[in-house]
Amino acid sequence: MDGGLINRGAQEAERTAGARIEPGRSYGFFTDTTLCIGCKACEVACKEWNGLPADGDMRLSGHSYDNTGALGAETWRHVGFVERLDDRPGEMKPFQSNWIMFSDVCKHCDPAPCLEACPTGALFRTEFDTVVVQQDICNGCAYCVPACPFGVVEVSKADGKAHKCTLCHDRMKGGMEPACAKACPTDSIQFGALEDLIPRAHQRVEHLHEMGQDRAYLYGAPGTPGATHGIKKLNAFFLLTERPEVHGLPSEPVRPAPRAQPSLLAGLGTLAGLAAAALVFGLGSRR
């Protein structure tokens, strides 16, 4: 009846994110790069809540303040740092310095290429319209890894199973907003129901345009770059001021599933042609 929610009364998320969490509605993140200060509170909060190990060898990458590098099996939030060294300070746009921070995460795509690829059903769409790997089902076939257009999901060497952001499915069950969004001190990461988040994001873009930041645009909301070629929306969508590639995002992600049919037909057609040749010319001795 209550969709498995632990807390049917007042929820913490209502106080911290202004969002009530109810099964059957779509939830996601609106990540606004113009507000990010690169503090990595989201990365740390994610690791803490989800019990994920540290990233490793403590070496500096040389890629600005980004020593995390990429999303992966043990890194579900990743703050990217881009320094625009060629622009002069006087040419800086308002509300975005030449130091651009961007907290990346699994996009919880709809439809999700990883989920469509998964042969075991380990990857599934939850009651909150998010995409989660069921650890007790995954057999480590790794097919979701090349399927993801964003290079997010990865099979862990430690346990041989695929891991990625769950949009804190466990916290949501308890009426709490995801750890990263709660920790974010600038509201660069906002959690909520998409029906609230998407209009709010469009308003934010309009507001930025009015204030002179005319490069602001949404990536992944319906009808925007990032929601292309069969991918209707990214439940975790972004506000960017640079081209997506600057952050390592494809400008037009593609849903792979429709490629299967032409491929299969070409393969079977080739075999049929060769089989026909074999029939005509024969395989046995002539007598």
Binding site: C138, I198, V205, L218, L249, V254, G267, A278, L279, G282
Partner: protein, 306 residues
């Protein structure tokens, strides 16, 4: 929901990346997957040949159908075992048979394999029991599933976001299918030769040569499509390219033709079989390289529709 017109991207892409870091993750399908694809290809093609041989030689005087069924059945057992070996959590392999997901070639591929194994067992077993009608009846699903098993592996690779595999879905499938047929015919030619069925072996060798021709044509279309999509670099230079040129092309296609001209047909057939496996290994390795090249992946996600 969409009050505003979508804002165009700030400026055209000029090859920016995020610190040159990869934007995709490599699949890291290892040599077991390459071997699996090759063995499955040979087994599937053998089952097709068994079917063709039954229509041509109902008495099976050459023993071709019988040997092809045995080879296909053996392959239908060995190949999935190798595939399960590549899983990172192999003891849960059976979860593949938990659902049917039509969008996932890995999912319906598992069902094709299952059907192929069952039908191959039926055709082989019925023949061993002397139930010829039953064997011929089982031959129909066995041949159909064999065709699927010999070709779906390319579809599995192309239905991903990997630039190299996705860029040329049809030619890659044609290449894999032709290579499977070349391998299946070469394997049967070896068996027929060792059984003293020289004329049948010769015809099978001719068929494998025709399949190599088809494979070469598909390879040319493949590199053309990959070049146009701007993703061909991993097959141009580096270790996967070397494996592709030396293994798949020189050993797998050129050497067999020379060996046959020199009157060494058995060696030629063996070279085809090894080349067929090396082709798959080269394509897997080149795909991993492709995923690590941000200019390829970002450019591909900009240029290619679907």
């Amino acid at each position: 929901m969409n009050a505003m017109a979508p804002v165009p991207l700030p400026e055209p892409w000029q090859g920016e990346t995020y610190h040159g870091r990869p934007t995709l993750k490599p699949a890291e399908f290892d040599w077991k997957v390459a071997t699996y694809i090759a063995v499955q290809g040979v087994a599937g093609a053998a089952q097709l040949l068994a079917g063709i041989s039954r229509t041509e030689d109902p008495e099976d005087r050459d023993g071709l159908a019988s040997r092809a069924r045995a080879l296909a059945f053996a392959g239908s057992i060995i190949a999935p075992a190798i595939l399960i070996g590549h899983l990172k959590t192999p003891k849960r392999w059976y979860n593949m048979l938990r659902i049917v997901r039509p969008q996932s070639p890995m999912s319906w591929g598992s069902w094709v394999l299952t059907a192929f194994g069952a039908a191959s067992f039926a055709a082989w077993g019925a023949e061993r029991m002397g139930w010829r009608r039953a064997a011929d009846l089982a031959q129909i699903p066995a041949s159909l599933a064999g065709a699927g098993a010999a070709s779906y592996t390319a579809t599995l690779l192309s239905t991903t976001s990997n630039p190299l595999w996705a860029a040329a879905r049809a030619p890659l499938a044609a290449q894999f299918a032709a290579s499977s047929m070349a391998g299946g015919a070469a394997a049967m030619a070896l068996l027929q030769r060792s059984a003293g069925k020289v004329e049948s072996a010769r015809r099978l060798e001719r068929l494998s040569a025709a399949a190599l021709g088809a494979e070469t044509a598909a390879s040319m279309m493949l590199s053309d499509a990959q070049r146009r999509a701007g993703v061909s670099a991993p097959l141009k230079k580096g270790p996967p390219a070397l494996l592709h040129k030396a293994g798949a092309q020189a050993l797998g296609i050129a050497a067999p033709l020379v060996l046959r001209a020199l009157g060494r047909p058995a060696l030629a057939s063996a070279a085809i079989l090894i080349g067929s496996a090396l082709l798959r290994q080269a394509v897997l390795r080149a795909g991993d390289e492709s995923a690590k090249r941000p200019l390829d992946s970002l450019g591909f996600a900009r240029e290619v529709r679907r």
